[in-house]
Amino acid sequence: MNLQFDAEVESFRSEVRDFVRDNLPGDIRARVAAERMEMPRDAQQRWHKALHSKGWAVHEWPAAYGGQDWSDAKSYVFEREIALADAPRPMTFGVGMLGPTLIEFGTDDQKERFLPSIANGDHLWCQGFSEPNAGSDLASLQCKAVLDGDIYVINGSKTWTTDGHVSDWMFGLFRTDSSGKKQHGITVLLIPMDAPGVTMTPILTFEGTHEVNQVFFDNVRVPVIDRLGDHDTGWGIAKYMLGLERFGTAEVSRSMASMKRLKNLATTTEVGGRALIHDPVFMTKIARTDMELRALELTEQRFLFQPGGADAMGAEASMLKIRGTEIQNQIYELMVDALGYDAHMVVDEDAVNGAPGDAGHATRAYFNMRKTAIYSGSNEIQKGIIAKMVLDL
């Protein structure tokens, strides 16, 4: 039993810390530190390219494709340090999901055409999975692609498409056969967002942020060479992609950064002549949340660094997602409580610090982050997974 990282990992931690300090643009750091929801395309690319210059942008990919072959410990520490330094999240869809999937299932031609621009940050990708009437029942998707010679013709719609409006390409699941079980007859296609017939409507979340979109396909033509994997058997690829999210769904590092800001806010917010941090009732709430975050961190470590490592994780990931999103939401809730009358104001889009302390956009974040308990399989779905897989109920 040894709950420390070894010296090599700790020295790597310092290297990451130094790199981020020297290379993360100040305006980007300030956006993250203010708990802002939007991260413009340009900012995402600038940070990605900074990482790319160090060889870290696609560190999880195999070394042959520009990755780093890091140990789980190094990947873990890397993710921790960039979050604590208020760096933006990595590009989930292209780097985290499509890259590894292309490497596993793609043709040589596809790897050559797509991987370099993902790695260097030139192209942003979005995910076309969810549909208007499917909810958490992903496999019930209906958006149709009909094979016509060597061209798929797509008609229908995808929704909750995060970053669709700033993306160059989409990887999506389409219905190519509806005669059998719903898991059969699904095909993965790669579609340029500027293809004729692709249109988009923004879906604003209720606090006014534009992150997601509904995407419509009107006779959109996709050549067979842009099909990932085989015709009708895309469900296996979809499951593979979703399984890639095991790491970091608990959002421990991001929550640690938010917790730091919450403490800062409680320290700098005076109420009735004393800082909030001296209010025993409020501090008890912060203390409890801090403890829960530590419990989550240790639980994630226990799961990740068990024999077999992250690959041995099954339904444990569901628990991390549930508790992680709950604790994350608790932190934002406490920020709103700390802000008091300052929570009412809609902070100007461009203001980085609209209220005392950091976390000027905390109210908006509090509203927006309710989504985390809903997306990627709602927390109710995750409980069902645990009940079935772990509890055998």
Partner: protein
């Protein structure tokens, strides 16, 4: 003991409900909220015509002499319709202040011609109404105000402002507070207006030697302001209760009609039990709106404070939970701007953060337990 509405109350409820459902369907609301001043002038005039603007005022000022229960009935409906606008700031706060100090102008409020905003909050004061740094110094017959106020509701469309200021004593004394009135465009007054999360409008206001007339007794305003704030809190409780029931209704309807994995969501037992929890919180919240209104039936200020704090605290806590659960049970659609539930949730959140959140009222209630 009888909890049923009087004929008059039923009439009011139905009139307001009909007006709001006709004139403020949810699909028209966002356009109103997005356009300055964030509410409809037509609606305001109709509220005047219906007598709602005069509801809480005594009959000899032209009001209807309504009780806290009457206001409760109306605010519940305003909550369900998510009505924005200066009803709280002009009628329940400023109007109440003017009425109590016997100042002119209540008639104009009742008629809808005049709007007054009430500036009480200061940064660093939290929800404490006694923590006032903005000073008023005597100068001839008038006073001169210097300092800052934040979160002044609907100040940008107000004709006048009422200001809670310090005329003597230390920053957090209950004594030494006085009320003043100034025209919204007074010299030395500068205002930064902004949109609020719930669709209303607020403003931060700087007073740099603004000449002002005193309202009521000098140095002695705290008790009056606290009572007026408690009355407004009581009304906000009713608004929150109406919102909670609206969330409950929406969510229940949604899980009955929405299918997933081939089954109506409402047939999943885990969701049923959570829906029952929401139902119970709505019932408890509704009961506490009676508690908060009942507070004004007796003269003991501590009993009033206790009742209002109990209601405001529980409704704050239950409202938060009901809002969060309502969104969660809706899933993705509940997160969108075009669906109403998020707006209900935003308004509930802001009601909690007005005149003391749950924790502030817990503390006030606990202090009162020590002395009772």
């Amino acid at each position: 003991m009888d909890f049923s509405l009087s004929e008059e109350q039923t009439l009011f409820r139905d009139t307001v409900a009909r007006f709001l459902s006709d004139s403020l369907p949810f699909d028209k609301r966002q356009a109103i909220v997005d356009t300055h001043p964030g509410y409809s002038a037509d609606h305001w005039h109709t509220l005047a015509e219906l007598g709602i603007l005069g509801l809480p005022f005594s009959e000899n000022t032209g009001g209807l002499g309504g009780s806290a229960f009457d206001t409760m009935v109306v605010m519940d409906q305003m909550g369900r319709a998510l009505l924005t606008g200066p009803y709280v700031s002009t009628v329940l706060l400023s109007g109440a202040v003017l009425d109590r100090v016997g100042a002119d102008g209540v008639e104009d409020i009742i008629g809808g011609a005049r709007k007054v905003a009430f500036a009480y909050a200061e940064r660093g004061a939290g929800y404490n109404l006694n923590d006032i740094s903005l000073t008023a110094n005597k100068n001839g017959d008038d006073y001169v105000l210097s300092g800052k106020k934040i979160a002044v509701l609907h100040a940008d469309t107000a004709d006048d402002l009422i200001i809670l200021a310090r005329t003597s004593g230390a920053q957090r004394d209950q004594e030494g507070l006085s009320l003043f009135m100034v025209p919204a465009g007074a010299d030395g007054l500068s205002m930064t207006a902004y949109a609020l999360q719930d669709g209303n409008r607020g403003a931060d206001i700087t007073f740099d030697g603004v000449r002002a007339k005193v309202l009521g007794d000098v140095d002695n305003a705290f008790g009056l302001v606290e009572e007026v704030a408690d009355q407004a809190s009581s009304a906000l409780c009713a608004e929150a209760s109406g919102i909670m029931w609206a969330i409950y209704d929406l969510t229940l309807e949604y899980i009955k009609t929405r299918s997933q994995f081939g089954t109506a969501l409402g047939s999943f037992q885990a969701l049923q039990h959570r829906m029952v929890d929401m139902y119970m919180m709505c019932q408890m919240a509704e009961s506490m709106t009676y508690e908060a209104a009942l507070a004004f039936d007796h003269d003991d200020p501590d009993a009033r404070r206790r009742s209002v704090s109990a209601a405001k605290s529980l409704i704050g806590a239950y409202g938060r939970k009901v809002g969060q659960e309502g969104i969660q049970l809706h899933g993705g659609i509940g997160m969108t701007l075009e669906y109403s539930i998020g707006h209900y949730f935003k308004r509930l959140t802001m009601i909690d953060a007005t005149f003391g959140d749950s924790a502030w009222h817990d503390a006030r209630y606990a202090r009162l337990m020590l002395t009772s």
